[in-house]
Symmetry: D3
């Protein structure tokens, strides 16, 4: 195991996903711990740690893709949190969803907006600033 890569990934996961990311890791521990390790190493240790595209833009890309695919609601919610954590405003999140109406249809946009609504409520309840 490449410790440096793992540590870099863990820090990135904390920075982007916060507790939500740690909860996913926790829930994988008894069933697929290696998948948890790969998530830290490859997406976070390798990809999110790359220069060439800032974190905010990476999360815009991710939120857009997950809203368009429409088949991974829990991960969409984690990444709406993530996008807000790295500098997106709530308004920008809603604009991404409206943009998806054009490319993936209005049902994708609607379900994206309703996922965002839940995320915003969760953040209001835990007194997060944005």
């Amino acid at each position: 195991m490449d410790t440096q890569r793992y540590e870099r990934g863990w820090k990135k996961l904390e920075e982007i996903d916060g507790d939500a990311g740690k909860n996913v890791m926790e829930s994988l521990k008894d069933i697929a711990p290696d998948l948890g390790r790969y998530i830290i190493e490859f997406p976070f240790g390798d990809v999110y740690s790359r220069p060439g595209l800032d974190l905010k833009s990476r999360e815009i890309a991710t939120v857009a893709a997950l809203a368009a695919l429409g088949n991974a609601r829990p991960q969409l919610k984690v990444h709406i949190h993530g996008a807000l954590n790295v500098g997106c405003t709530r308004e920008e999140i809603i604009e991404i969803m409206i943009q998806m109406a054009v490319y993936a249809g209005f049902p994708a946009a609607l379900n994206g907006v309703f996922a965002a609504k839940e995320v915003f409520a969760e953040r209001d309840n835990s007194h997060q600033p944005n």
Copy 2:
């Protein structure tokens, strides 16, 4: 017909997609001119003209979504051009595709990279600066 909306949309289409957008409109003329009009009015006149998310971020979202869905290659190519036209660098385009390996799998990322390679060659051939 709402002329103002149409004109605003046409300008936005020119700004983002350039000749590629006009070619799509041209090819719709004899078969589905109203779809062409709707594209100018709704995606460009309404959505791309909104404040709240800058054009570059809108194109990042679009390129990501189309690469992830993987079922609309011509439109993916048009929007790689569009992203470059509104300020994305080639490096950023490639980074979006690598980001998609995580959320839509490596085949989506590979096909996105190969679409980008074709777009970059088209731009080199027509002596575009980026």
Copy 3:
């Protein structure tokens, strides 16, 4: 804002989706009111108001597409209601789902049938005639 288009769309929304459509609009009010306005203007004011394909056939196309995509269950249910509201029989709804077994696989057909089962029960409970 084009008032005529909005009003035409609102009437169409009422005709097709009834209360379900109004509930969606209501739920968008505090989070993405512009997306609600676009839904009234473009899908209902523009597309559903077009001649060239009758409303019943438009809903057959919509129910088939949403069942095949399989990633937008709330909208599938709204449009099963819509299809029944504009003249489809319950038997025709079930036949659309069986047809989808061929083109999108048996899981899509099964999930479409179970969505229809819920819709039929909702209509029985509110004493709707079909």
Copy 4:
């Protein structure tokens, strides 16, 4: 093998898909003849032969679903032919594609329209009446 079912299916295939259907069967002969037999027996012998939804509506559902999924262009073209063969007008085909802009996004609608354009040209070239 249930001969009656096979013969009913073959007649239905001829009625809906004409030569296009027979060409598919021919191309399966040396590689997967049983898949060819199943296609005749199940989709055509069982599903398309059912009462409860007329053939034209079945093809509207199929064209809509294949345009929305966007990942099976050859079959989309076969079924645009099929829809025209069982009574759809060219205008209705285009309307189905415009309808899909709402539920699957503009790229799906555009690619559906361009597939229809090719089918209409093929029919003009072989002097088919619609």
Copy 5:
């Protein structure tokens, strides 16, 4: 109706899906009994009864496809049960999901793992050996 085919299918359904399969049939009885009959006849009576690919490999293919598509969770769970019933180990199920991270992205893999976790718990609760 071809009785032999139906009986062969029913036995196959029992062998692979056990009670889960019978429950699906039961739930179709009042709403779409013919879809239930087709499921027994075509997937089970025809396809799963074919030589050329062993049952365990057929279930590996099915679990992989349903996890990758990500839009049919109930059927994914039924087929994780099915795969275990015909000889897959729990470890092999988890490995299929990790394999899907590569081809359909990490969200597909995660949701596949969590579906498996539920299935394993259901089997522990009903004292099944694997």
Copy 6:
């Protein structure tokens, strides 16, 4: 860079994909070399190198998923080669595609069979034994 992981991945890539894999790496060199490196390290160095599921079963899962998704034809062909390289028979490949008719619809199965037909011809032309 973790050299051991890269070397293990490269060997696995050669074993499974042969020249097709090397060609993909070659084509990435000037446009996205890091994506090439990640493909060797993560899918091949990490995932395909795992115990717990034999290589043949991993390729069955991959071919099934790519045929079901239907939006990555070049990768589907590479992995039909791969499956044959690690022990699948041509008959088994066709059976996977027929299995997909049930879970992703007949168009997915047909396009999978036609991709396999091309792969088999390529192998006949280069005198490969299976």
